[in-house]
């Protein structure tokens, strides 16, 4: 089950991006999701993210994320109206409670909760997209240039994780062969059996780690300055995607300063569209952010285009 990363290489366009371009695309999406308060902008962002997820063939994976987020979204929608008393349009007067005072549910608070749950879904979908397009090894090798030692710890642990799960299975099988029945008995009787398993796992894996250390020592770890090499190439597609992300960020900052992408919920709901600028800024942001999606579409359809970028 854990033999593979969440990421799976399918040779798709978005997976072929340089890690810097892919990371900055996900990063810009993240910042925008946290910045926007206007529900229209949040919905637009969500639309782009879902299109990008669809471009990497990830809608099935996204459904799992949707299920995780639904519970949290519900929580956000319930908590907000119950504790917020700032809204003017009260639609329900509740009983008095010791900590919260009188319960009131206002229309504004429900709208706020709904907008925040869209934000939550957008953020979780961004991570779904990130998991689908960036190979962990690429990020680690990028990190190794700045923080070699931490990157080494992380990549060692990443490599050991599936191996250790396999090792745990092995120890379990050996114990079963020796006559230990892990399924029999009450919880109290089963715990010592698991304690023995964990003890063996701890001992043998720590012993292994000393062997790894000796292998590192033999390969001159820590004896001088480290060298590193780059395997990823920067192609026109990376410049285009990075340019799109930066343009979206710049326009979003402008929109935020002008108040296009902000929306005040309290005490009364604001107008969703405050003027033509709101729509223009939104369209520019969505177009700039969909550059990778459009490129991905062209990459699949047109061999000439594929060769050029």
């Amino acid at each position: 089950m854990f033999d593979q990363f969440f990421y799976q290489d399918k040779g798709l366009f978005l997976q072929s991006l340089h890690p810097v371009a892919a990371l900055s695309y996900a990063g810009v999406l993240m910042v925008l999701a946290l910045l926007f308060t206007n529900p229209l902008y949040l919905l637009g962002l969500l639309l782009v993210i879902i299109l990008a997820v669809a471009a990497v063939d990830g809608l099935a994976a996204w459904e799992t994320y949707l299920k995780i987020s639904l519970g949290m979204m519900l929580l956000v929608i319930i908590i907000n109206p119950l504790v917020v008393h700032a809204g003017e349009t009260i639609i329900w007067w509740g009983p008095r409670l010791p900590v919260f005072g009188r319960l009131t549910v206002s229309l504004e608070a429900i709208c706020y909760g709904a907008a925040m749950s869209v934000r939550l879904l957008a953020i979780i979908s961004i991570f779904c997209l990130y998991n689908l397009i960036v190979h962990p090894d690429k990020v680690l090798s990028l990190l190794a240039r700045f923080a070699s030692r931490s990157a080494l710890v992380l990549s060692l642990a990443t490599r050991m994780f599936p191996a250790m799960i396999r090792q745990m299975e092995n120890i379990r099988e050996v114990q079963v062969v020796r006559g230990v029945d892990f399924h029999a008995g009450t919880l109290k009787e089963r715990l010592p059996k698991y304690a023995a398993l964990m003890n063996i796992l701890l001992l043998s894996s720590l012993e292994d780690s000393l062997e790894i250390a000796e292998a590192m020592q033999a390969r001159a770890f820590g004896s001088g300055r480290r060298s590193c090499y780059r395997r990823d190439t920067w192609r026109p597609r990376d410049s285009l995607c990075l340019g799109g992300s930066l343009l979206a960020l710049a326009v979003a900052v402008y929109g935020q300063a002008k108040g296009c992408s902000t929306f005040s919920f309290y005490p009364e709901l604001d107008y969703l569209i405050k003027g033509p600028m709101t729509v223009i800024v939104l369209i520019i942001i969505i177009l700039a952010l969909s550059v990778p999606v459009v490129l991905s579409w062209g990459w699949q359809r047109c061999p000439y285009f594929k060769a050029k970028i």
């Binding site: 990363f5 504790v83 991570f127 962990p136 080494l152 994780f161 715990l191 720590l206």
Partner: protein
């Protein structure tokens, strides 16, 4: 360069304080939304600083390998046992690693466990907060180990129990700052109440693990800590000739 290395920590602290002060102004600019953005920025900066501290310190290859292995064991602890559902010894593993190997190793084991297990389980906005929470659990256990090296089973069981709630508290900060408005203590209590039972399970699980496995695991880890220390003996001229 050496100057910057020395000054990075104070600068970062000033920057975080500046962000906190600016939040009063920024909040007005973002209509009270600033915290959703500010809180992750502060958490990530704290993580970067802590990792940077690890980069700067003197660490032997044995320490690197053992820290990676402890992180992996804690990460594997997130995968629930098939026969014992809902019991995850990750926090317990991080706490005893920190207790035996010190604050730095505790932090690295905890944050590595969170990041690496999420490579397989899926990264999310929760990743930095989990890294921070588990890292802090390891660090605080390391500090416990320094101040009370003789802290016995009882003290550490209570300590692990409390970390169940503290962990939930840190993770609640994420939901609270990101998606609840306004940020006052009533809304915090409501957010906390929603997760109270999960935290109680977590805390009870931690305490049970320490009660049952704590002493034997600490003994194993202490044996390996002694093995970590390698002393290189200088070569003496006379000995060299004798060897030849």
């Amino acid at each position: 360069m050496a100057f910057w290395r020395k000054m990075l920590f104070p600068f970062a602290l000033v920057f975080i304080l500046g962000l906190l002060l600016a939040s009063i102004k920024i909040n007005a600019l973002l209509l009270g939304q600033g915290w959703g953005l500010l809180a992750p920025v502060i958490i990530i900066m704290a993580l970067v600083l802590l990792y940077w501290g690890f980069e700067q310190g003197r660490v032997s290859s044995r320490e690197v390998a053992v820290i990676a292995m402890l992180g992996t064991i804690a990460a594997v602890g997130r995968v629930p046992f098939a026969a014992l559902p809902n019991i995850q010894p990750a926090t317990f593993m991080v706490i005893i690693s920190g207790f035996v190997f010190g604050p730095r190793a505790g932090f690295m084991a905890g944050s590595t466990a969170a990041l690496v297990s999420n490579f397989f389980l899926g990264q999310g906005p929760w990743t930095p907060w989990q890294m921070f929470a588990w890292g802090l659990a390891g660090t605080s256990a390391g500090v416990m180990g320094i101040i009370f090296p003789r802290a016995g089973k009882k003290v550490m069981t209570v300590f692990s129990f409390l970390w169940g709630y503290l962990f939930g508290c840190i993770m609640n900060l994420w939901t609270w700052t990101g998606f609840v408005h306004p940020l006052n203590w009533q809304s915090f209590v409501a957010t906390y109440a929603a997760s109270f039972w999960f935290d109680t399970f977590h805390a009870t699980g931690n305490a049970a693990f320490y009660l049952l496995f704590g002493p034997s695991f600490v003994k194993i880890l202490q044996r390996f800590r002694r093995k970590l220390e390698v002393t290189l003996l200088p070569v003496i001229e006379g000995d060299k000739n004798a060897a030849l």
